[in-house]
Amino acid sequence: MRIGALARDSANQLDTSAGHSDNPEERLRAIIDEHADFLWRSLRRLGICEADLADAAQQVFLVVARKIADIRPGSERSFAFQAALRVAANVRRARRRRREIPDDVLLEHNDSAPGPEMHAEQRRRRAQLDAILECLALEVRAVFILSEIEGISMAEIALLLDIPAGTVASRLRRARGQFDAQVKLLHQRERNHQP
C-alpha cells in the first residue's frame, strides 16, 4: 500500500469532487461523502470518546463549512484533519484540566460505548490502547494512528498535516518508541496478573 501511495493518494486528493465544484454546498456534501468516515475514525483514535464523537464531528465540519470558500481544492481532507486535531487538543486539555492527573500515568480509559460487535476482549484491548495513546503528545499520536492504524504512508501524512516528511519520520519514531515502551509495561503487568 505504501509503494506508490503518495502518487495515488495525492492524485486522489486532487481528484476529489469536493475540489471540483464551486458551489459551497456541493463541496461540503462531497467532503462528507469522501472524508467523513476517515474523520470519524480519526477523531476516535485521537482520543474523543464515543459519547463525544458526534459533537466532535460536527465541530470539525462546522469549521470546514465556515472556511470552505478558502480551502484550496484538493486540500479538503488535509484541512479537515487538522481541524480534527484542534478539536482533539481542546478536548484533551479540558479533560486533563478537570482530572488533574499527570499525563505520564496511564489514564483510565475512555468510556467506550461498546458496539454490539465488539467482544469483551476487544473492548478491553481498545481501552488499553486508548490509555496508551493518551500518553502520547497529540502530534505524535496523530502520526502514529495515521501510520500504524490507518495505514497511511509517511509521505501522505506529511501532506495531510502539512509538515515536512522529516518531521513525520521523527514523530513516528518517537511514537513507536513510546508505544513500544507502554506495551512492554502492559505486558509485564498482565504477566504479573495485574489488570
Binding site: 476516535r44 465541530q59 465556515r66 484542534r86 502539512d162
Partner: protein
C-alpha cells in the same frame, strides 16, 4: 484473566492492541451523516452569501493572518436528536464537548493565541499548528493558523469582549459583503429569495411556502411542548428540503431558541450572532438579540 495464549509475547500484544482500533466503527453513523448534510445545506447558503463568489475581497487577506475578522462561529450547529424527520430518536444526547462552556471567540478582531499547555512539554495546538504555506503547498491560500486556532471553539481562551459588537457587525449588511468584491457577481443574491431552480422547480411557490410553513409550525409546536430535540430534527429537515427557503430567518430563530432550550448556550449564541449579521432588519432580530445577550 487473560485467556489469550496467543498474547503471551509483546509483539502479539502490540498487534492485539492495534487490531482493536482497526475494529472501531469504521463509518459515520447514519444519523450523524444526515446531520452533517443538513449543516451543509445551511452552510452552503450562508457561506455563499457571505463570501460572494469566494473572493478574498470581502474579508481581505486579513482573514488568514493575524488580526482576522472572523465569520461568526458555529452558527450551523445542529445538535441533538432524532435521525429523521419522523422523530426516530437518536441515541446521543446533547452532551457538550468537554469544555464547551468556554465562551467562544466570535467576531473578535484580534487573533487568538493558541492555547498553551504543559502536556508533554509542548503545546498540542502549537505542535499541530498547521504550517500552511510550507513546502507542500498550503491547504489555504494564506496562513490560517490563527484562523484555526480560534475556530474550533470548544476550549478557546475566553475572548475579551468582541471588539466588533454584534450590532456593529450586523450593521455591515449582507449587501455590503456581497458588493465589496473584485467584481464577481455574488453567488447568492439574496439568502431569503425564494428558490426558483433545483428540486422545487415546477412546484408553485405558494405550495412550497405552505410546505415550509407546515414544517416550521411543527417545529414551533415541538419547541412549545418543551422538546428542543425534536425541534432541531424538524429544522434539519427544513434545512435539507428548503436550503434557500423563504422562511430561513424563522427557521434560524427557532434553531437559536431550540439550542438555547436544550442547553447548548454557546451554539445558540453563535447562531444568534450570525443571524443578526445576516438579518439585521428582521422582525425577529430583537428576539434573537435577547437570546444572544442572555448567553453572553
Amino acid at each position: 484473566m487473560n485467556h489469550d495464549a496467543s498474547r503471551s509475547d509483546v509483539p502479539s500484544l502490540k498487534q492485539a492492541l492495534l487490531r482493536s482500533a482497526r475494529l472501531d466503527a469504521q463509518t459515520v453513523p447514519t444519523s450523524v451523516r444526515r446531520r452533517l448534510l443538513g449543516v451543509a445545506s445551511v452552510a452552503g447558503v450562508t457561506s455563499a452569501a457571505a463570501s460572494a463568489g469566494a473572493s478574498w475581497g470581502v474579508f481581505g487577506s486579513s482573514l488568514l493572518v493575524g488580526g482576522a475578522k472572523w465569520l461568526a462561529v458555529g452558527t450551523l450547529f445542529v445538535s441533538v436528536g432524532a435521525a429523521t424527520f419522523h422523530g426516530t430518536r437518536g441515541v446521543w444526547h446533547p452532551q457538550p464537548i468537554a469544555g464547551a462552556n468556554a465562551s467562544p471567540p466570535t467576531l473578535s478582531e484580534q487573533p487568538t493565541t493558541p492555547q498553551r499547555s504543559a502536556i508533554d512539554g509542548t503545546s498540542p495546538t502549537e505542535a499541530v499548528q498547521p504550517n500552511f504555506g510550507n513546502n507542500h503547498g498550503a491547504a489555504l491560500t494564506g496562513s490560517p493558523e490563527a484562523a484555526l486556532a480560534s475556530d474550533v471553539v470548544v476550549q478557546s481562551r475566553t475572548q475579551p469582549s468582541d471588539t466588533a459588537s454584534p450590532e456593529a457587525v450586523a450593521n455591515s449588511t449582507l449587501s455590503r459583503d456581497r458588493t465589496d468584491v473584485s467584481g464577481e457577481p455574488p453567488v447568492e443574491t439574496d439568502p431569503i429569495a425564494p428558490s426558483t431552480v433545483g428540486e422545487h422547480s415546477g412546484v408553485a411557490p405558494a405550495a412550497l411556502l405552505t410546505q415550509e410553513l407546515t414544517l416550521l409550525d411543527h417545529a414551533r409546536s415541538r419547541l412549545a411542548a418543551g422538546d428542543p430535540a425534536d425541534t432541531l430534527t424538524d429544522l434539519d429537515a427544513y434545512a435539507q428540503q428548503f436550503p434557500k427557503g423563504d422562511l430561513q430567518p424563522e427557521s434560524l430563530l427557532l434553531r437559536v431558541q431550540a439550542l438555547h432550550q436544550s442547553g447548548q448556550r454557546e451554539s445558540a449564541r453563535e447562531l444568534g450572532v450570525l443571524f443578526l449579521k445576516h438579518y439585521p432588519t428582521s422582525p425577529h432580530a430583537k428576539q434573537v438579540r435577547a437570546l444572544v445577550e442572555l448567553n453572553q
